[in-house]
């Protein structure tokens, strides 16, 4: 049977499109989505996966085809056809990636904007309100961005719940300003806009919850924000993603997204907990801690005994 070449090309093209579309939706590579924003990021990723799969199949397909079809026959010393270029073809393959990246850039912009990334308060190096104030008072020069006026990150000015986050080697400390609760784990109610006001105590850390698809560096000397609205009850890991020292891998805790009742119950329990215990915690958290107590505090994250850790740490 003699099938014309352009029909084979057409069938291959359709197959390629179908495979790319299917894989782009069904790669199953991402962890669960725990917020509206996460779902949007995943849709963007799925589109990128679809395009990438298509391009991957085309280029690898061409390579494999060349490998099989265009091998030199033994004893053949002649050259291939002297084709030096083809302007229309080159225009096409310059235009296609240009269009693709244009679409991806616009789509990414849209998703980023929806996540609150271009929120006027947080998207500028210099918050608008502060700038006007500084100008009015003629204090532009005296304005010190390192006194906590500068915020960076993905955040929304309006929030149902604000939590102060302090990142230190090698722990996250969460303070609830409304109730005074201090905790090593983050509890938030489901479907509420939560805003984290983050500071770093020593070195740069990065607050990351994979299920929220959110990450923000926490920088010493600067404030950063991160706002999210989790729509899915569950426990998710909070990971430090910026190298912060030898036990960087152990700097982990949990984000509990709970029903409103469970959240209130937790706040109650912790507010009226033994006052002495709380004072101890506060003392431990706020004072400069020694290497030993820090190691002891976090030995359970690391899954090793404090003594072993201390030994490992000896030559420090």
């Amino acid at each position: 049977m003699n099938i014309p070449g352009n029909i084979i090309t057409l069938i291959a093209g359709i197959l390629l499109t179908l495979i790319s579309l299917w894989y782009g939706q069904n790669h199953g590579l991402m962890p669960v989505e725990a917020s509206q924003g996460a779902a949007e990021v995943d849709e963007l990723f799925n589109l990128m996966m679809t395009i990438a799969t298509g391009l991957f199949l085309i280029v690898e397909g061409v390579l494999v085809y060349c490998l099989i079809k265009f091998r030199r026959k033994k004893g053949d010393k002649t050259d291939g056809p002297g084709i030096e270029g083809n302007v229309p073809l080159e225009i096409v393959w310059t235009a296609i990636p240009t269009v693709i990246v244009f679409i991806l850039a616009l789509y990414s912009f849209e998703v980023y904007n929806n996540m609150g990334g271009l929120d006027p308060e947080t998207s500028r190096d210099f918050p608008q309100g502060e700038m006007q104030m500084a100008e009015n008072q003629g204090k532009m020069v005296a304005f010190n961005p390192h006194q906590g006026h500068l915020s960076l990150g993905i955040g929304n000015a309006k929030a149902d719940l604000e939590v102060d986050v302090n990142g230190i080697q090698y722990a996250w400390i969460f303070t609830y300003p409304d109730s005074g609760v201090v905790s090593g784990e983050l509890h938030v109610p489901v479907n509420k806009q939560v805003k984290l006001n983050m500071k770093a105590g020593d070195v740069i850390h990065a607050f990351w919850v994979p299920q929220l698809r959110l990450k923000q560096d926490v920088l010493p000397g600067r404030d950063s924000n991160l706002a999210f609205n989790s729509n899915r009850i569950g426990d998710y890991p909070i990971v430090c993603a910026e190298l912060c020292g030898a036990y960087h891998g152990g700097m982990k805790t949990v984000l509990h997204v709970e029903s409103e009742e469970d959240y209130q119950k937790w706040i109650q329990e912790n507010t009226f907990a033994n006052a002495q215990e709380k004072a101890d915690t506060m003392a431990l958290m706020t004072q400069p801690i020694t290497q030993e107590s820090r190691l002891e505090m976090h030995s359970h994250h690391l899954g090793v005994h404090p003594e072993i850790l201390a030994q490992l740490h000896d030559h420090d």
Partner: protein, 550 residues
């Protein structure tokens, strides 16, 4: 353009083995010095990677202490970048540029020797940091962490990177001048081999960006030693400024590491496909475009640091645009192979392996350019997978491709084809098993630079470690091949591949001053299958084959 305009040249005597251990000004000796040195460091950096992967086979930090683990990955990164890939690019450039453009030597032979002789001290110094506690804040050395963990190790790191950066700058000056000023009469810029275009673009990047790194490191050094606070927040400094300065060099560094090897592949593919390179000008200009765009994308490494929203959008757009010139190159290489007569030997296998793996690095590169997605994967194993596909699947495979391609020219000996192919197969399988699972690990939630991780990540890590061992094994046929070929290999012909670029017109290995007389341009560098006007019956390449048979 003539070859006599540059200052008087050092004379070279007959070459002896000792020349390779001394301050020799012959570009070919320097090229070999660079190549051998860089490969020594490849084995050291590779050994560190194997320890790191062994540690990561299990979730617990059980093989090395967490401090040592951080030291190992810091030095692994530093060595592979500054002591392997960058000097290996310089090795090819030193060896090939004068031969490809018909010059007797580089424009500044003594400067060239100085540039090389900064590398071994830089490398030895870096390794000596183990004596005082090696740096452990990653190859990026972000303050304030780098100011806090081990003062002298960090300082040694700074000084050795400064030495290696200086070497790189001196090399860049030399390459650019040689390419622009020392070509033979008939060779205009558009009849020069594409490797020279790639090195021209690389040199521009080196000269524009490396001094900025030097500035950043000197300031970091002041913070470390003199107690200033350029980057230290406790004294009012800003660690984000360091990140800007660092990435202003270190993003272009990616292109400093890959552009020379784009050039190498553009030489290898046409010869072994017996076809002209497809779209010569498009490939040449896309190198320049990458070079230019490479300078304005650095903040994409900082999408999650202190980078305001509008800035993230700007750097997202510029970063994505790099896909266009890179795409042009990949499509052109494929089109060169299409319809050709492919000789599937070691150089060609590595070149095709390069195209297929670099493609993956390029596709994930566009993904991580997208801000919302990068926020999720930044500082995770997805990034580790991505840049290893670019730098190992890209630079390193192309490096090996060039290594086998020019091995007969450089040594005058033929390598063993079977061992070369075995080397390729093991490397290609190993690299995919090592780096592919990392993408999924990163997406799932595994962050990078950690000695301990959650149990759920173990299966994929185990797979990755197995791949790393295959890559370690792949060096065995390579080493045997080199030693065996040098000792027992048959004498190589002048032009075993029947290539058209003029480095193949001289003896293998080339004589001291490169050519007996000034070489003649027979044809363009890639005129395979194009008849030399109507009068000529046989093709240019056949004519050259006759010449080389003499």
């Amino acid at each position: 353009m003539s070859t006599t305009t540059v200052s008087e040249k050092p004379q070279h005597k007959e070459r002896k083995l000792i020349d390779y251990f001394t301050f020799n000004t012959d570009h070919k000796v320097i090229g070999i010095q660079y190549l051998v040195t860089s490969f020594l460091f490849y084995f050291i950096g590779g050994a560190f990677a194997e320890i790191v992967r062994t540690e990561l086979a299990t979730p617990d930090p059980d093989i090395v202490s967490p401090e040592l683990y951080n030291q190992l990955f810091t030095l692994h990164g530093t060595i592979m970048i500054f002591l392997w890939i960058v000097p290996a690019g310089a090795a090819f450039a030193n060896y090939l540029i004068p031969l490809m453009i018909g010059a007797e030597d580089m424009a500044f032979p003594r400067l060239n020797a100085i540039a090389f002789w900064l590398v071994p001290p830089g490398g030895v110094l870096l390794l000596s940091s183990f004596l005082v506690g090696a740096p452990q804040s990653g190859w990026t050395s972000y303050p304030p962490l780098s100011l806090m963990s081990g003062k002298w190790g960090e300082e040694i790191w700074i000084v050795s990177v400064l030495l290696l950066g200086t070497s790189s700058i001196l090399g860049g000056i030399n390459f650019a001048t040689t390419i622009l000023k020392m070509r033979i009469k008939d060779m205009d810029l558009h009849s020069m081999p594409l490797f020279c275009w790639a090195m021209l673009a690389t040199s521009a990047l080196i000269l524009l960006s490396t001094p900025v790194l030097a500035g950043a490191l000197i300031l970091l050094s002041f913070d470390l030693i003199a107690g200033t606070s350029f980057f230290n927040p406790t004294g009012g400094g800003d660690p984000v400024v360091y990140q800007h300065l660092f990435w202003f060099y270190s993003h272009p560094a990616v292109y400093i590491m890959i552009l020379p090897f784009f050039g190498v592949v553009s030489e290898v593919i046409p010869v072994h496909s017996r076809k002209p390179i497809f779209g010569y000008r498009a490939i040449a200009y896309s190198s320049l475009a990458i070079s230019f765009l490479g300078l304005i994308v650095w903040a994409h490494h900082m999408f999650t640091s202190g980078t305001p929203g509008w800035l993230r959008m700007f750097f997202m757009a510029t970063t994505m645009l790099i896909a266009v010139p890179t795409g042009i190159k990949i499509f052109s290489w494929c089109a060169t192979m299409w319809g050709g007569k492919i000789e599937l030997n070691s150089p060609m296998l590595f070149a095709m392996g390069f195209v297929s793996s670099f493609l993956i690095g390029g596709l994930t590169g566009v993904m991580v350019a997208s801000v919302p997605f990068d926020i999720h994967v930044h500082d995770t194993y997805f990034i580790v997978g991505h840049f290893h596909y670019v730098l190992f699947g890209g630079s390193a495979l192309a490096l090996f491709s060039g290594f086998y391609h020019w091995f007969p020219k450089m040594t005058g000996k033929n390598y063993n084809e079977g061992l070369g192919q075995l080397h390729f197969i093991l490397t290609f399988i190993g690299l995919n098993i090592t780096f592919m699972p990392m993408h999924q690990l990163g997406l799932m939630g595994m962050n990078r630079r950690i000695a301990l991780y959650d149990v759920e990540f173990q299966p994929l890590n185990l797979l990755s470690t197995a791949g790393a061992y295959i890559m370690a094994v792949s060096t065995i046929p390579f080493i045997i091949n080199v030693i065996w070929s040098l000792a027992k290999g048959t004498q190589a012909e002048r032009n075993p591949w029947r290539a058209l670029t003029i480095e193949w017109q001289t003896a293998s290995p080339p004589i001291i001053e490169n050519f007996e007389e000034e070489p003649i341009l027979w044809s363009g560098p890639y005129d395979y299958g194009i008849d030399d006007e109507e009068e000529e019956e046989e093709s240019v390449s056949d004519m050259l084959a006759d010449v080389s048979a003499k």
